[in-house]
């Protein structure tokens, strides 16, 4: 069972703040540290700052991120630590508010003596990333929206981009033989970063997009929108609706007679919160598309079980992203024999990109053992194979999943990455 809050949830409410935060972040980066070496000590614990919103509206989501990092720290410390040093997590609270991110990041860099930053999400990344990169601090994040073709050498995002997900959704509809599709996305910034790529890919694949209405956030009722979709007679509906709207939307969806329409959802529709809001009956008609992962990792079940030992919070797949981020940074430190960010950041591609002679590892312990034996490794995480493009975002195959309430998803098909090229 998973509970994965929508990464998009926060975004739509803060688009104005993001614009401000970009300016703040850029300004702060310009004024920030240029020492080039923020991670200082070579003894004592390896400090990892975990930036999230530990107060405010996103506490649950932020706790899930922190819990993932805690499981990683536990695994690493059980394996003897990084170069013999224990991992020490330092939660850094920015409330997931970009205005608070700037001082929080600056304080973390100045005071907390961190060797790695794990955190930043859809809401606060625009403020935080420029400062971290300017300070040459390695960061690993869980950010859904595209942030443009910007290469940030010190930053790795563990989550695939939203627009690529849209291509995979359209391809899945095409592969299933649907000719007439409806594209139904809510108006949050996150959802809207997926919808255009779905429509564009659908056109390229020769699919007829018969309806593509918005689902307005906070609208009092959706019957008219739903009626418009039904009247367009789609064979399948490609969609994402926030959990807060999903209960109302799908109850009206069902009462208006659309209950049997096949639904193809984004990765966010795998969220248990969403599935509960949607209801078990409609969940049977839903196939969710996500980067191939979880079930592909032999370490996944161990990760789930470790979660329960480290924290009393319910398991959440979202924590897997920071888990992977911390583990891959730790392995890079082991490989580099240094916890200095300006040194070990160059080793992250070495342990994530596949190559001849490389041995795929799924856990920190496996990786550390092989590194000590002088072997080359390829870390494949609990969230996926983690093969990064030049913008440090994971790319690769996608998969289709079905999921029932309170159960883990079942993979029912694969969408190979090469099928998405050119869409």
């Amino acid at each position: 069972m998973r509970t994965r809050p929508f990464r998009q949830r926060a975004i739509g409410r803060a688009s104005g703040a993001i614009a401000i935060s970009i300016a703040l972040g850029a300004a702060a980066a310009a004024c920030g540290s240029n020492s080039g070496s923020p991670g200082a000590s070579s003894s004592g614990p390896v400090n990892v700052g975990v930036i999230a919103g530990y107060t405010g509206s996103y506490v649950s989501f932020s706790d899930e991120l922190l819990n993932g990092a805690q499981v990683a720290a536990s695994d690493i410390n059980k394996g003897g630590g990084i170069l013999g040093r224990k991992v020490h997590l330092i939660p850094v609270n920015d409330g997931l508010d970009p205005v608070d991110t700037v001082p929080a990041v600056q304080k973390m860099l100045a005071v907390d003596n961190v060797d790695l930053e794990a955190g930043l999400a859809a809401l606060d990344y625009t403020a935080g990333l420029p400062i971290l990169n300017k300070a040459h601090m390695v960061s690993v994040s869980y950010i859904g929206p595209d942030y443009g073709n910007v290469v940030m050498p010190y930053h790795w995002n563990i989550d695939p981009s939203d627009s690529e997900l849209g291509l995979a959704m359209a391809y899945y509809a095409f592969e299933k033989g649907y000719k007439r599709i409806a594209v139904v996305f809510d108006t949050s910034q996150g959802a809207q970063s997926i919808a255009p790529s779905v429509v564009a890919a659908a056109h390229k694949l020769g699919l007829d997009v018969v309806a593509d209405p918005y689902v307005p956030e906070n609208a009092p009722a959706y019957q008219t929108v739903i009626t418009k979709v039904i009247k367009a007679k789609p064979q399948a509906v490609l969609m994402q609706v926030e959990p807060a709207q999903a209960g109302t939307f799908f109850q009206q969806w069902q009462s208006l007679g659309a209950g049997s329409l096949p639904l193809i959802g984004t990765d966010a529709t795998l969220d248990q919160e969403f599935l509960h809001a949607m209801g078990a009956k409609l969940a049977k008609h839903l196939v969710s598309i996500e980067g191939i992962n979880r079930t592909s990792s032999p370490y996944y079940n161990t990760f789930v079980s470790s979660w329960g030992k480290v924290t009393s919070h319910p398991f959440s797949y979202v924590g897997g992203f920071l888990y992977d981020g911390v583990v891959l940074a730790a392995l890079a430190m082991d490989e580099a024999k240094s916890t200095e960010p300006t040194v070990y950041y160059k080793y992250i591609p070495d342990i994530t990109q596949p190559g001849p002679g490389k041995i795929t590892v799924y856990s920190y312990a496996q990786g550390l053992k092989l590194i000590k034996e002088g072997k080359q490794i390829k870390y494949s995480g609990v969230t996926g194979p983690l093969i990064f493009n030049k913008y440090h975002r994971p790319t690769g195959d996608y998969a289709a999943y079905t999921e029932q309430l309170d159960k883990n998803p079942v993979q029912i098909g694969v969408i190979p990455a090469e099928k998405l090229v050119g869409l």
Binding site: T3, P213, A219, T224, P243, T248, A277
Partner: protein
Amino acid sequence: MGLWLATAVYGLVFGAILAIAALGFNLQFGVTNYANFAYGPMLTVAAFMAYVLNVAPLHLEFWLSEVLAVIATAIFSLLIGNYLFTPFFRRRPQLLFGLTVTFSTAIILDSVLVGIWGSYVREMKAPSGALDVHVLGALRLTNLDISSGILAILVFAVTALFLGRTKMGKSMRAMSDNEALAKVCGLRTARITSITWLITGAMAGVAGLADQLYLHSFDPTMGDQLFYLLVAAVIFGGIGSPVGAIVGALVIGLVSQLSVLVVGEAYSTVSIFVVLVLLILARPNGIIRPRTRSVFTTA
């Protein structure tokens, strides 16, 4: 034509739920003369009360939970009104201070709800058969939709009888018209105010529960989302006018749905406020001319 008619009915169903909330808000405003921004979170309080009683952790029977939740919300409203708002208003009767304290209370209530229950969406299942559908041409209504309409009519009727036929109702109207005169005439205004908090709290409870079932799922922002529409309904209908609140809410329900057909879903919420602004330009006191001493009106 079938689609337009069906859409209008969907709008009226939502408008009926909104009208219960708007009526309570307007009644409270009429007697106390303060716009209570905490009225939105009060709807959410009712929803969480019912959730605690019916779903987790208490698992009481559905209807018992609903009744207890309404009573609890009414008492909560009375406590906040009597021990927070009224003492504050007595010391600082100015409009701005009133808005400040009710607005602050709304934020506090929202934060407490998030603090206790988190920001997650929760389900509140309607009783069995509530979602059974009746099909009339293009119109598809659930039993819940029909019940919401009937509930609203009942609330309107009881409120009208209470205000028109009972001594307390007449006293509330008198106080709403002129508090100073009501005092001179020997009416116990403090007691009337307390009962107003109690009754309007109960109405917030009923509206919150109706909205919760209508939405099928809810989170701590539920009441806030309805609040801005109910304020619009009250302004639309005429501040201080119970009939105006009902009419305003129904119009807003209609506009919210029909506008999807006219201007598209992206502008449906915006269109409510465009219509509101145009109406205020044409009729500054709303559709129904109020008889209140409201500080917002020029009547």
